[in-house]
Symmetry: C2
Subunit: 310 residues, 2 copies
């Protein structure tokens, strides 16, 4: 039996504008890496965390990677101990699915160590349980795409119904992460608990249209469908200059532009790398005019999800 | 130039459960037939209406077929007169898109008489304008599928953005029309103008999933997506025994079951004719136990929309 394994799990764009709480999209890079070694201590420990500037909990029961491993071991009835090393490559509180990527890399690594007793579908609940520690609820909109890859639709959480939506090959993702932080809990607090029926209609027309656009490989339709009248108007208030940034990105070549997850990272979907580069730069420039530093990540859609690395 | 033409336009299932105001689905039969003859009177007249028991207006400006023709002639700048004969094959106030079918058959017939100067897309606004007479708003969720065929998604009304969604070949539709009448205006009045955010999320997950199910030809997913938590709970109150009818239909072979448009007609989607027959019968039997007579219509999806008949 293997005693050591390392896995990579990608960043994800939750919501994808119109699909609040239901869509998530995995990108090729960046992502978190989790290394696990088994021992006979009978307990799960965080051995080291790199790249978090000391901000993540070293208590495994409070760390999403730790919780995912604890839940996995409980489920397969193993009393093994495990040491977890987390290489945090995703910025915290960025809206890029950072907590999800750590949990997903952890379950993929631990499953590999036990010779893959569980399918990806079966691993999902452990990663969701880990999300509860980070976000207060066991939601799947980041963990599902990070685990399965591609664009995922969570039709329901209970029972869990995850649907993979094919995406066109030349669809390119831009993430621009400004150096400000928005806590998921805060981002959820700005939401209203009721919405006008007419806004609901707009939203469910657009989620349906986005799926059609993806499956028909119709880039223009994808762009037209990246509209969010429910959540973005609230969350945009937490991101300086959002409206200007968005319109600049679109005139610079993005099909559409929105807030990645709960923000503050901005995402764009583009047809091809050239458009993605232009859109990314335009957003970074807007942040610069406000004296905000930012990083650009440009990537194709990750179609295979998390994977084992040597 | 032709001086006489006759067109058929099919019945339609608006909403298709989850997609209130955005989805519409055309069926092969039944449908309305409209016969138009041109003359030089300079005015549009209803010559005769069959099958409406005298309930539809003979004033062309108040009849959906008449309005559609008037709007068409205005648009192409013709001063011709026209006489319209409407063969009403769809029950009125049934939720089967009766007013839309008359308008669509009329625009297809008049366009044919002028040697098709306008495309189907260009005809749509005239039929929508006719819907305003019948329903109080120029909505497209019945006229678009009746005109184009298949499953249509109205992403927005303004600007009009109609998307055709492919459907699996063996998808079979059941409509059961009980002999009670629900006015569209009344059916709209029971709706609340705000909805809980969580119901919105359920709804936009299901519209996205229904498109995925259709395009993947995944019948089980189509069935799981036929869920409406927003409108059906209100409108079901207008239809006696709705909950029992629905659960009977599903145990009898329907993938899903809901209210067609604003009701009272019940629709089911099924895989294949045998399931459709069983589901239709189960619904009719439930209405019978309440001493309500009903008709069953079973049909494949109409994939070509309205057409000229000899």
């Amino acid at each position: 039996m293997k005693t050591k394994a390392k896995a990579f799990a990608p960043a994800t764009i939750a919501n994808v504008s119109c699909g609040f709480d239901v869509f998530g999209l995995a990108i090729d890079a960046p992502g978190d890496e989790v290394e696990i070694s088994l021992n006979d201590s009978g307990s799960v420990r965080m051995k080291a965390i790199f790249g978090d500037e000391g901000r993540l909990p070293m208590d495994a029961s409070q760390n999403t990677a730790g919780v995912a491993v604890i839940e996995f071991l409980k489920s397969i009835g193993k009393n093994s101990g495990a040491q977890i090393t987390l290489h945090k490559k995703l910025p915290l509180g960025s809206g890029m699915g950072s907590s999800a990527a750590s949990a997903v890399a952890a379950v993929v690594a631990i499953n590999h160590l036990f010779d893959e007793p569980l399918s990806r579908e079966q691993l999902l609940p452990f990663a969701m349980e880990a999300e509860r520690i980070a976000c207060g609820s066991a939601h799947a909109d980041n963990v599902a795409p990070s685990l399965f890859g591609g664009l995922t639709l969570i039709r329901t959480n209970n029972p869990l119904d995850v649907i993979s939506i094919p995406t066109p090959d030349d669809l390119t993702c831009v993430l621009v992460h400004p150096h400000i932080e928005v806590k998921t809990r805060d981002a959820r607090q700005v939401l209203k608990q009721t919405i006008p029926l007419k806004d609901g209609i707009t939203q469910w027309a657009n989620t349906a249209a986005l799926v059609a656009g993806m499956m028909k490989q119709d880039y223009a339709l994808i762009g037209r469908s990246l509209v969010d009248v429910v959540v973005e108007p609230m969350r945009a208030l937490l991101i300086p200059g959002f409206d200007r940034i968005k319109s600049k990105a679109i005139t610079s070549g993005a099909l559409g532009c929105g807030i990645s997850g709960s923000g503050p990272t901005i995402f764009c979907l583009c047809e091809g790398m050239a458009n993605a580069n232009r859109a990314g730069k335009s957003i970074q420039e807007e942040f610069e005019t406000m004296n905000l530093r930012s990083e650009i990540f440009i990537s194709h859609v990750n179609k295979k999800g998390a994977y084992i690395i040597d």
